[in-house]
Amino acid sequence: MTVFDIFTNQLLNGIVLGSFYALVALGYTMVFGVVKLLNFAHGELYMVGGFAGFLVLSFLSPFIGAGWFGVAISMVLAMIAVGFLGVVIERVAYAPMLSAPRLSILITALAVSLVLQNGMLALTKGQYVPFGSALGFGGINLGKLFISYNQMILVGVAALLMLSLEMFVSRTQYGRAMRAVAVDKDMSRLMGINVNAIIAVTFFVGSALAAAAGTMAGAFYGSLWYFMGFLIGLKAFTAAVIGGIGSIPGAMLGGLILGLLESFATQLDLRGMGIPFKVGSEWKDVFSFSVLILILVLKPTGLLGKPEQERM
């Protein structure tokens, strides 16, 4: 393979990976924007979303098949179910803590994460669960680059979801209310906005996006695991920080950048420069979290974030 072939291949891989990161990062960033909470349980909602999609698909596949159509239906139902789960978590675990010190609610989020993770561990006995999707292996060849239909559908669905979110936030009363609540809760109340309802909507939408990513990941990679949300949760957090936490376009951009960075960095071959070292894929997490540290040190507001203004 030529360098160009490697490049296009890794570009494609990076975009696919980045789509997952972006979808999960959106929930992180939306929740942070509205309630200033780093929802460390968010990655688990991706995991639960995967299992919810799996459950729906196992019930419905005799009727609708386990191809992309079946997966799409399962995804939508999983999004709704996990969306409600997100709202329940907010009401039960976070709402009573919103006026408590920031650290308390952060610890609550970690606890929620452990509950979901260990709940699934108990249910699945720690086994990998085959997702049961039956996706085709077709695709198109562009020179030496093979793009599978699955990759195209996945990136397409992710892009569609993100576009819808952007439209929802910028062009509807609910989206405007969400931005208003993020800026000034009391002022929003004076506008007649039911702040608790808007927080619930935010959790619903964020959780549903994580579930969409979880279901697609299950269908695409073929199996589920109770621990699958942990690492992607941290990666999504990194993506949100890169883009500027609280910023929706920032989360999309950060996810994409992180996906591309990981897929390219793992191809670094230093042997050509006389250093006997080739970076393998086992190094990708090192890259991601090094970037997280760099961003936090050099530009804590991220690429698209704005510095927090303190009210005088």
Partner: protein, 260 residues
């Protein structure tokens, strides 16, 4: 007809009395002013009316509905809107979006309509935008609608804030020191605007204001609050001549001059 009626309202914070047995009312279609020295409890009274503070005693009725058990956003829906002493516009939103956010409580599209962006939702969105633009034109802002609101000159920001309050379609508009920081030319325009809000939109206005000259010119009734107690109520002329008011303000000697 009485639009807003407070009876025996008492509010205290950890033992210190902020408002004591306040009776107060605003008739429909009137401009009423609330004056008083700093720390008299005027802004606290506003916060009680909008539902942010819950008085320990008394009753507050808007159009006959008791509001003490209601949440602030529900009070807004009854028809109460306010502006702030220090302008509080939503950052990172355009002028129009700021005003459109005020119409949240007057829209009927549900969350599902919004997510799916159904035709009915789009139509309503267009209506909201039209009404917001109408409010902006009404307060005298005819350009710069797409600019980020917090980047406008101060006097314009005040107008955007009034437009946003009008967008909630209130029956009563509370203005907290609307003339603070305005030039004398802008104050004249504000006087005209307050009169038009009442006459053309049929909205009653209650204002807190330190500029007594402005108060005397614009309001039918003036109430005076001092140390949480309503010490006088009457027409502008009666208030100016009231010795209790003069004393509360600056002490007997200088008071007359200050209120002149």
């Amino acid at each position: 007809m009485t639009l807003l009626e407070l009876k025996g309202v008492s509010l205290s914070f950890s033992g210190s009395n902020v408002l004591q047995d306040v009776d107060f009312s605003v008739p429909a279609g009137a401009v009423v002013s609330l004056i008083g020295p700093n720390g008299a409890g005027k802004t606290s009274l506003f916060n009680c009316i909008t539902g942010f503070y819950k008085p320990q005693h008394g009753s507050i009725r808007v159009d006959g509905t008791e509001t003490l058990k209601l949440k602030p956003h529900q009070v807004t829906r009854l028809g109460i809107a306010r502006t702030f002493q220090n302008v509080r516009l939503f950052r990172e939103m355009s002028v129009t979006e700021n005003v459109m956010s005020g119409m949240h409580c007057r829209t009927s599209s549900g969350i599902v309509d919004a997510i799916l962006r159904l035709p009915s939702q789009r139509r309503e969105e267009a209506e909201i935008r039209a009404f917001a633009e109408d409010c902006l034109t009404f307060v005298g802002l005819t350009e710069g609608w797409e600019r980020e609101a917090t980047t406008l000159p101060y006097g314009w920001q005040r107008r955007v804030e009034i437009a946003r309050a009008l967008a909630t379609q209130p029956k009563l508009l509370l203005l907290d020191e609307p003339a603070a920081g305005l030039t004398s030319g802008e104050k004249e325009e504000l006087l005209g605007l307050i009169a038009r809000i009442r006459d053309e939109r049929g909205i009653s206005v209650l204002l807190i204001e330190h500029d007594t000259g402005l108060v005397m010119r614009v309001s039918e009734r003036v109430s005076v609050l001092d140390h949480g107690v309503m010490i006088a109520e009457g027409t502008a002329k009666e208030i100016q001549a009231n010795p209790k008011v003069i004393e509360a303000y600056l002490g007997v000697e200088d008071g007359e001059e200050a209120l002149g």
